[in-house]
Structures are given as structure tokens and as C-alpha cells.
């Protein structure tokens, strides 16, 4: 078993840059991921946390909960789970975007985050947990070709 680090972070956008800085330091301290993969992790975790923060922000302020990050560290694999308590979310219900060659593609200003996360990660999983959603992001040390 590798090391596990857990963090509770207030569900506020201004903490995203702090989350990125901490996750980057955790991954570079506790694994041997090369820099380009740490970059992928940094972006994928930001996307997951932004979705979690958005979901929490739709609740009345008094009911908002912190988002929870669990980082599991192996030498050649980092898994980060991002959990919110903001109800369920069905990623399969997302409408796929038209191809970028179609003029209609520019109608889509939102919903770019999950396709981006799928491209960046070795494994991406959404599951219902407690009163909300957990997103699991796995990034291995192996370089991916875009």
C-alpha cells in the first residue's frame, strides 16, 4: 500500500489555485510521475474540483459542505478522488458535442471539462457516494500520446 493524504477544502473557487499547488507538491513528493503527467493531474483535478464547487454552490449557503480530496500515492500511479455532498451527477447524461469541424461546435461553451478529463487520465470514474458524487482520477507515470 502506498501513502494516502486527505484534504477538506472549502467549496470556493478561490481555493482552486491552492488545490493545484498542493496536489502538485503531493504528487511530486510521493510518486515518480514525470512532469508532463503531473501537469495532466493538475488540470484533471482542477476540472473535477471546479465541478464539485459548482455543484456545492447551487445549494443554499448554510448547507454547503467542503469538498474532500483523497490522494493515493504509488511510485508509478497517483489516484485522486474528489468528493462532494451535492447530490448525484450522471456523466452519461451529457450530450456529446458535435465535431469541431461543424459550425455548431461553437455553441458549446460549457461541458468541455469532462471530455478533457477523459483525455488526460488513464482511468476516470464517477460514482455516487454518501449524499453526492465522487470522481476518481488515475494518472500513471506512462506518457500518453495525444
Amino acid at each position: 500500500m502506498g501513502d494516502r493524504i486527505e484534504l477538506d477544502v472549502p467549496a470556493r473557487p478561490e481555493y482552486l489555485s491552492l488545490i493545484r499547488a498542493i496536489v502538485t507538491m503531493i504528487a511530486s513528493t510521493g510518486s515518480k510521475l514525470p512532469d508532463p503527467r503531473i501537469e495532466d493531474l493538475r488540470l484533471a483535478v482542477t476540472e473535477a474540483c471546479a465541478n464539485a464547487i459548482d455543484a456545492e454552490r447551487r445549494k443554499p449557503e448554510a448547507q454547503r459542505m467542503p469538498i474532500v480530496l483523497r490522494c493515493d500515492l504509488e511510485s508509478d500511479l497517483v489516484a485522486v478522488e474528489v468528493h462532494d455532498e451535492a447530490g448525484g451527477f450522471d456523466p452519461d447524461a451529457l450530450v456529446p458535442h458535435p465535431p469541431v469541424t461543424k459550425p455548431d461546435r461553437l455553441k458549446f461553451e460549457r461541458g468541455l471539462g469532462i471530455p478533457l478529463m477523459r483525455e488526460l487520465t488513464d482511468h476516470l470514474e464517477f460514482r455516487r457516494e454518501g449524499g453526492g458524487t465522487t470522481v476518481r482520477i488515475e494518472i500513471s507515470a506512462h506518457l500518453r500520446t495525444a
Partner: protein, 114 residues
């Protein structure tokens, strides 16, 4: 942390040099600035992302929205970046085919696409 947003004119184009990290915390100020420029009749825009250390899908959404509005009004939006990490975000979302990605502001103003 706030975004740095510096506006200048170059060769008939309005150049917005952005510095900092663009995510859901800071994207609203970028959107506001770009829409204010369009409202001020500055329809040919260059967004210089060379000093941007991080950009997520929210930033792409803002740029797509502004590109669409600029083109509707007869203008254009070009992006400057040499940073591989920023370029990669455009490439994996395949938005590199929707935007003119340029290496320098001079190239963007001249219309030299890579």
C-alpha cells in the same frame, strides 16, 4: 489570485495580454474584459496567453464565446501561445482547429497562422 489583463493596440488589432492562472475563479474577469472590448467596437482581438501558467476548460469556454460573438459582429479573435501546456489544452479538445493559434503577437496581427 487576480488575472493580469493589459490592453494595447497593435497594427489595427486590440491585444489583450493575460497573465496568471485561468480557472472558474478568474475566468469571469477575462470574460468581462473581452466583452467590454467588443462592446467598445474593438472586434479584432488578439489574446496573448504567453504569461498564462494554467488554463482550464472554463477558459476555453470564455474564448469560444468571445470568438463566436466577434465573428458574428464581423471581427476575429486570435490566440498567442508558445507554452506547450497551454497549447496541449487546445489540442486535446481539438479547439486548435477553431482558433488561429499563433506564436507571437506579430504573427497574430499579420495573420500568420502556424
Amino acid at each position: 489570485m487576480d488575472l493580469g489583463l493589459a490592453v494595447r493596440e497593435e497594427g489595427g488589432w486590440t491585444v489583450l495580454a493575460v497573465s496568471g492562472e485561468i480557472d472558474i475563479a478568474t475566468a469571469p474577469s477575462l470574460r468581462e474584459k473581452l466583452h467590454a472590448l467588443l462592446a467598445d467596437d474593438r472586434r479584432n482581438l488578439v489574446v496573448d496567453l504567453d504569461d498564462v501558467g494554467f488554463l482550464d476548460s472554463t477558459a476555453l469556454g470564455v474564448l469560444v464565446g468571445v470568438l463566436k460573438r466577434a465573428r458574428t459582429e464581423g471581427g476575429e479573435l486570435r490566440i498567442v501561445t508558445t507554452q506547450p501546456r497551454v497549447r496541449k489544452v487546445f489540442e486535446i479538445t481539438r479547439l486548435d482547429s477553431a482558433f488561429d493559434l499563433c506564436s507571437t503577437v506579430e504573427d497574430a496581427v499579420r495573420g500568420t497562422r502556424e
